[in-house]
Amino acid sequence: MIWNQAAECMSREEKRRLQSQRLKELVARVYANCEPYRKRMQEAGVTPDDIQSIDDIAKLPFTSKKDLRDYYPWGMLSAPLSDIVRIHASSGTTGKPIVAGYTANDLKIWEEVGARCLAAFGMDKNDVFHVSYGYGLFTGGLGAHGAGQNLGATVIPMSVGNTEKQLLMMHDLGATAIACTPSYALYLTEALEKSGIPREEFKLRVGVLGAEPWTEAMRKEIEQRLQIKAYDIYGLTEIIGPGVGHECEFQCGTHLHDDHFYPEIIDPETGEVLPEGSTGELVFTTLTKEGMPLIRFRTRDLTRLVYEKCQCGRTTVRMEKILGRSDDMLIIRGVNVFPSQVEAVLCEMEEVEPHFFITVDRVNNTDTFDIQVEVKEQFYTDDIKGMVKLQKKVVAKLQSVIGISPNIILSEPRSIERSQGKAKRVLDKRKFQ
């Protein structure tokens, strides 16, 4: 179902007018209320008067993650703290967290875009919505919660952990939809299979999955083993949280709510806006946010945007699968390697589990590239030859996709840590040398 026909199906001309109007208001607001933005615009020689249409956005300076850390905690707010009703923060691995403040209106926008996502996944007020994202500073839990509540669904605020209890509640309360990370969905699948409770006793049919990158192959695995339809919900803590975009029933890219979050594709080296259809770094401007609006925020995600109207009837711009993050990219022996590529290859092989752990190191000036993988139980053999053959098969498959040969370490069942949040799958020891 389309939650907001007017917003999600408006013509491109109409959308541009709305975006232009909103951008003008936004720039006036941040210029008046947020010192870092005002200073930066002055340095760039731009005033609010220079912004007359959405195309003028290219005149504005970028914002980065670093800015959000530098002005921690309140420096990037464009509204007084008295108007801020909620705080969320990202769990950045280094240094200070990134703190975002939401006004009451920001929360309303978030619940609106969140409900659009759930409706697109075929959910409505009759659904029992089990939220297994973490509640707290992380945007996942409360974001999905607000979306479900706005939709009118029966929301179960489970949060993370205690998988047995999760299964019990899901079973007893008849959950029809679950929100969690794709890796937790896999973890839960294993737990469900192990529990011995027949699948028919669960009513689960929709997975609202996000907060970490996942592959098509991983989706297939989740859909087959957990017997649900798995949809991607897209979000960034800095922008608003889950709800920035969603897949529709045709699963042909992620529809972005571009009436609220305006996306651009730029050249990550030069900062130039690239022509329509180019692949480059995704940049967002939050057109309507009041608490901590972001202007031209650089996501570091590499992708492509598609502007054609979708078969589902929506005209919101679609983002293709994210190719990788420039931060995640490993350069091994001079070759760019994305952990998502490794995952995709492993998911396609029936003999191994989709879990893996990459260790990169430098020994005698040469990069080493180890990948620990688990063999599925029925594929362990009684002889060394059989196992070596399997090992070689995995190496050859990976080599054909990523261009260099990893050293594959076959390991015992469940010896690779199952992540309940963002999966930790890489250790780059070169960073510690």
Binding site: V375, Y380, D382, D383, I384, M387, Q391, I409, L410, P413
Partner: protein
């Protein structure tokens, strides 16, 4: 003549064999014979135990990859030439031995054989009155 052997996949890290031995001993399961095949990355422990089904369950519960493999166990006299005569029989019948290991107790010796064609091997040995 045929016995169920347990084959256990082991990562090449110290202590894994100890773990298996400990787990089995804690359940009062006796290891009658074993051998280890390994390369630099991993190993496969093949073992005959006093209670195969129980050992299988317990190892599985402890997260090991365990498989049943049918092998031939023969009790032969602990004298020169007794093993040779058996191997010769199998070779003549074109049966290839994937691996074997042996253990002896006083007068008696036992040999565990994993042939590529189990049925055929059993037939040949029976025809020659070898138990």
């Amino acid at each position: 003549m045929t016995t169920k052997q347990l084959s256990i996949f082991l990562e090449n890290k110290t202590g894994r064999l100890n773990d298996v031995a400990k787990i089995l001993s804690e359940s009062s399961i006796n290891m009658k014979a074993f051998s280890i095949a390994d390369n630099t990355d991993f190993g496969i422990l093949r073992v005959l135990v006093s209670d195969t089904d129980k050992a299988y369950q317990i190892l599985k519960q402890n997260g090991f990859a365990v498989k049943f493999t049918d092998v031939i166990t023969l009790h032969i006299s602990n004298t020169p030439g007794s093993l040779y005569s058996i191997l010769d029989l199998l070779a003549t019948a074109n049966i290839y031995i994937e691996y074997m290991y042996a253990f002896s107790e006083g007068e008696q010796a036992s040999v565990v054989i994993r042939p590529d064609n189990l049925e055929e091997a059993v037939k040949v040995l029976k025809q020659n009155n070898i138990q």
